[in-house]
């Protein structure tokens, strides 16, 4: 278990593996698994979006 770096929700490591990308169940941020023991994540890289404006 760790904390989402974006919204501080509890995030369960479960059976996840290093490099796996999964969404935070609360805020939906795509998280990348950095370590499994202890479980650690960071926001996965994402594309910017400005709707062309």
């Amino acid at each position: 278990m760790t904390e989402c770096p974006e919204c501080a929700a509890s995030v369960d490591g479960g059976e996840k593996i290093v490099g796996e990308i999964f969404p935070c169940p609360d805020c939906g941020t795509e998280l990348e698994v950095l370590k499994t023991a202890p479980f650690a994540v960071e926001p996965a890289p994402r594309e910017a979006e400005d709707w062309g404006e």
Binding site: P5, E6, C7, A8, A9, D26, C27, G28, T29, E30, P43, R46, E47, E49, W51
Partner: protein, 341 residues
């Protein structure tokens, strides 16, 4: 429960009937309209064809019901409420007549003098997220306005935590045309409304009083009409007393609304639906809340979206009914909306 709907031919009345017809614990005993007496309810609300054979009756023929919903113009509810309460039922009023505790606010914002101060004091502001326990015992429920509902739900956690600074909080709202009702006059003509982006109340909008009453904040409200039939999007510009990071906002709003069935936190880092938008909420009882921290301007931006006829009126009224009647709050309110729409 036997319920009556007074003023059932308008948009709010129609939405109320649509929801109540699907409510498993409700029987609609009467629907009134002074302009549609004797006509089928579906004459005003064609989406209700085959769902009901009810016809509109005159208000003069209104009989006591377990719960009476009032969807009448402002000032008309106040005259009817004492008689309805005397009959022993519960009244859920969707007008503004009992929302404000301070009678002087009615003089300021509605141009009416109020002497029924005991009823103003007794009425419960119909927002379950703020007044759930009082609603369980209420005889008279005052359902808030649509813009006020959005702004209050957005701002309340920040205000209640004592995090607002000295500067007024700016509420910038955008509304669809149904918010102005069925008898909106020339402003509602297609030729005038189509393509519109109109500041119809840059200052002094009536909902200011409700928002201030329920948040304790000084509010600067500007209201706009936009090209939509349903929907309210309120962007709240708050200037907190200290910098707030987004993680702290998540924690604050999760504590306030994490267990609420009809408030959802929406603030996503990617995709095309990153912040709340009213379009996907049409017909639902949800209020979606988002936020962003703006350290450059010392600002916290709060975003609230809802359907002005749903969580902004009829849906919220039925949620209040469920609380008052001790039913699960989601009863009859399970519609998840449409996408795409």
């Amino acid at each position: 429960m036997n319920v009556a709907v007074v003023g059932g031919s308008g948009y709010v009345g129609g939405e109320l009937l649509r929801i109540l017809l699907g409510h498993p614990d409700v029987t609609i005993a009467q629907v009134t309209s002074e302009t549609m007496v004797g006509k089928l309810v579906s004459k005003s609300h064609p989406n209700l064809r085959k769902a009901t054979k009810l016809t509109f009756e005159s208000r003069a023929s209104l009989k006591p019901a377990d719960v009476t919903f009032l969807a009448m113009p402002h000032t008309e509810s106040a005259a009817l409420v004492p008689e309805l309460l005397a009959s022993g039922g519960t009244v859920i009023d969707l007008s503004a007549d009992f929302r404000l505790k301070d009678p002087r606010a009615y003089a300021t914002y509605y141009g009416t003098e109020r002497t029924d101060t005991a009823l103003l004091a007794e009425s419960v502001f119909g927002l379950p997220e703020l007044h759930r326990e009082e609603l369980r015992r209420a005889r008279l429920v005052a359902v808030p306005g649509c813009i006020a509902t959005a702004a209050i739900l957005a701002l309340r956690p920040l205000a209640a935590a004592g995090l607002l600074g000295a500067a007024p909080t700016v509420v910038d709202s955008k509304s669809g045309s149904s918010a102005s009702g069925r008898d909106a006059g020339p402003a509602g003509l297609h030729a005038e409304r189509s393509g519109v982006m109109r500041a119809y109340a840059p200052a002094g909008h009536r909902h200011t009083a409700e928002i201030e009453q329920e948040t304790g904040a000084k509010i600067a409200l500007s209201c706009h009409g936009v090209e939509a039939v349903r929907g309210v999007l309120a962007t709240v510009h708050a200037f907190p007393s200290r910098p707030l990071e987004e993680k702290e906002l998540w924690q604050l709003y999760r504590r306030a609304y994490g267990e609420e069935p009809f408030v959802r936190l929406v603030h996503e880092g990617d995709g095309i639906h990153r912040e709340p938008e009213p379009k996907i909420l049409a017909g639902t009882n949800y209020c979606d809340l988002g936020f962003a921290s703006d350290p450059h301007a010392g600002r916290t931006v709060l975003i609230a979206a809802l359907d002005n006829l749903g969580k902004g009126a009829a849906g919220n009224a039925v949620q209040c009914l469920n609380v008052r009647a001790g039913r699960p709050e989601t009863t009859g309110l399970g519609f998840l909306g449409l996408h795409p729409i």
